[in-house]
Symmetry: C2
């Protein structure tokens, strides 16, 4: 199949903050775009620009050669793909199904197998880079599936991301995203503990950053989230509730593989405590509240 | 006091890997350099270049206007500064004493007070940047003490470091270094857990790095130590035994201040387990051995 504007119709399901930006890039790239999302009003901006609204995922599937999905939780993905009215049951023969939700590697493999049986091409392709990366079309896209399918889809993926890497068979994209979240989880404790310590020691946290952020303690989180902590800005770049979901998937997956992850377990427990205290809609930097009221 | 080559005699105590490089920069800067270190043979290269050997710390103190120290453990610092034959008791009136060892903030304050009483200028100035930073004269130097003393010493410090930051009163340099080590400690768990997970999931860890190192999971440790883990290179950039020392100081100091540091506590416990298994002379990236034999 040749993937180029005018020759392939593309469906996008899930128009949250991330999905909306990503679908917008596909539309701007000249593709015939079909959309579905649970809250129909979220599609209005895109339909105003020419996207076609579809009443259900099944109807969207029947109209498209390529379907991208960006929904919430693994159970949403499961229902959307494997449910009776789902994508696998309704997609055109030979269609490409690409789930960009951060979801379970095991589920991605099940979807891969179900798609195979129906002559469909399924890939798991979660992203990192957040709302800004989605808006600016410079996400990192981590892909599990067949290498040749990744090449077929590369023109479309390039509209949304800069780092487009095939990581292995079905599930490998999700596994890679789990590595990403695992690395972040423990580091967030380090960043917040360093900031809380600095405050208690009577240091100026900003001046501390000047000494430590460009060396061996340096990290994206230290440079980008510690300044927000210092400024008292706990607004979500990435929601605590979503991070807890991701860490839960990682823990389950690690357990299945017998990988020990004490740092991840601890971080997840701290974040759950925060969520129980009402911080679930704050950004991940609100972990500082576990340590300090700074 | 004017600090310039030919006008100030500088003493350096502790010629380990770090101290040797640092003292060498001072000598190369044209200063009259006096040296002492426990293992006399470690001074030979410097005395061959014109440094003056002193038989004891007390004799060195009597000969110098500025004394820099870079020794091992807080108990070494305590003995060297506060012991009967130590620097405080033997330094010239008005001398500058700068401890660059990573040591206890509380001890740094005690040294500061003892120095004050004798009309001496004491500062704590631990560094980060490792052996390479020491060799290349681009350490980050975090300083506790009087701001005007930092300015007096800046010409000499500039020979050893690029980032020279006054962090506050006596002890503030050590506290800042603790923030640095705290941020590293938890992050090392994240990096190693991500690599161990990647391996168990059948991913290529190098390809995983390609997807995750430039985003929100990115860190100095991920970019610099994960490749060594993948290559099976556990040689020390920074020794596990020294990191355990530093984490112990941080834990004690955090406890004194009532700062909760569960991430640090966990990382320290994992590193101690590794040390008990014989990994104390490996680099900090050998934490991977807790998780995997990759």
């Amino acid at each position: 199949m040749v993937i180029s504007p005018g020759q392939a119709s593309v469906g996008f399901i899930g128009l949250g903050v991330m999905g909306h930006s990503m679908a917008g890039h596909i539309l701007a790239g000249g593709y015939d775009l079909h959309v579905y999302t649970r809250t129909a009003s979220k599609a209005e901006e895109l339909t105003g620009r020419g996207a076609v609204w579809q009443e259900t995922p099944a109807k969207l599937a029947q109209a498209c050669d390529i379907i991208l999905t960006m929904v919430g939780y693994p159970q949403d993905v499961e229902e959307l793909y494997l449910g009776e009215d789902g994508l696998i049951a309704n997609a055109r023969h030979g269609a490409y199904l690409l789930d960009m939700t951060t979801s379970s590697p095991a589920l991605a493999r099940r979807i891969g197998e179900a798609a195979d049986k129906r002559g469909l091409h399924a890939l798991d392709a979660p992203v990192s880079g957040g709302d800004i990366g989605a808006r600016e079309g410079r996400l990192s896209i981590m892909i599990g599936g067949e290498a040749e399918d990744v090449e077929v889809l590369r023109p479309i993926l390039s509209l949304m991301g800069r780092q487009i890497v095939h990581q292995g068979p079905a599930g490998a994209g999700q596994h890679t995203k789990m590595c990403n979240q695992i690395a972040i989880a423990s580091n967030m404790m380090g960043v917040c503990e360093a900031m809380a310590y600095a405050e208690s020691a009577g240091l100026d946290p900003q001046t501390v950053l000047k000494s430590i952020e460009s060396g061996a303690a340096g990290s994206w989180s230290l440079s980008n989230l510690a300044p927000r902590i210092i400024a008292g800005d706990l607004a979500p770049g990435f929601y605590i509730k979503h991070f807890i979901k991701d860490m839960g998937i990682a823990l389950e997956s690690a357990k299945e593989m017998n990988v020990s992850t004490p740092g991840l377990s601890l971080a997840e427990a701290l974040y759950r405590q925060l969520a129980e205290k009402g911080y679930q809609d704050q950004g991940t930097q609100a972990l500082i509240r576990y340590y300090s009221s700074m």
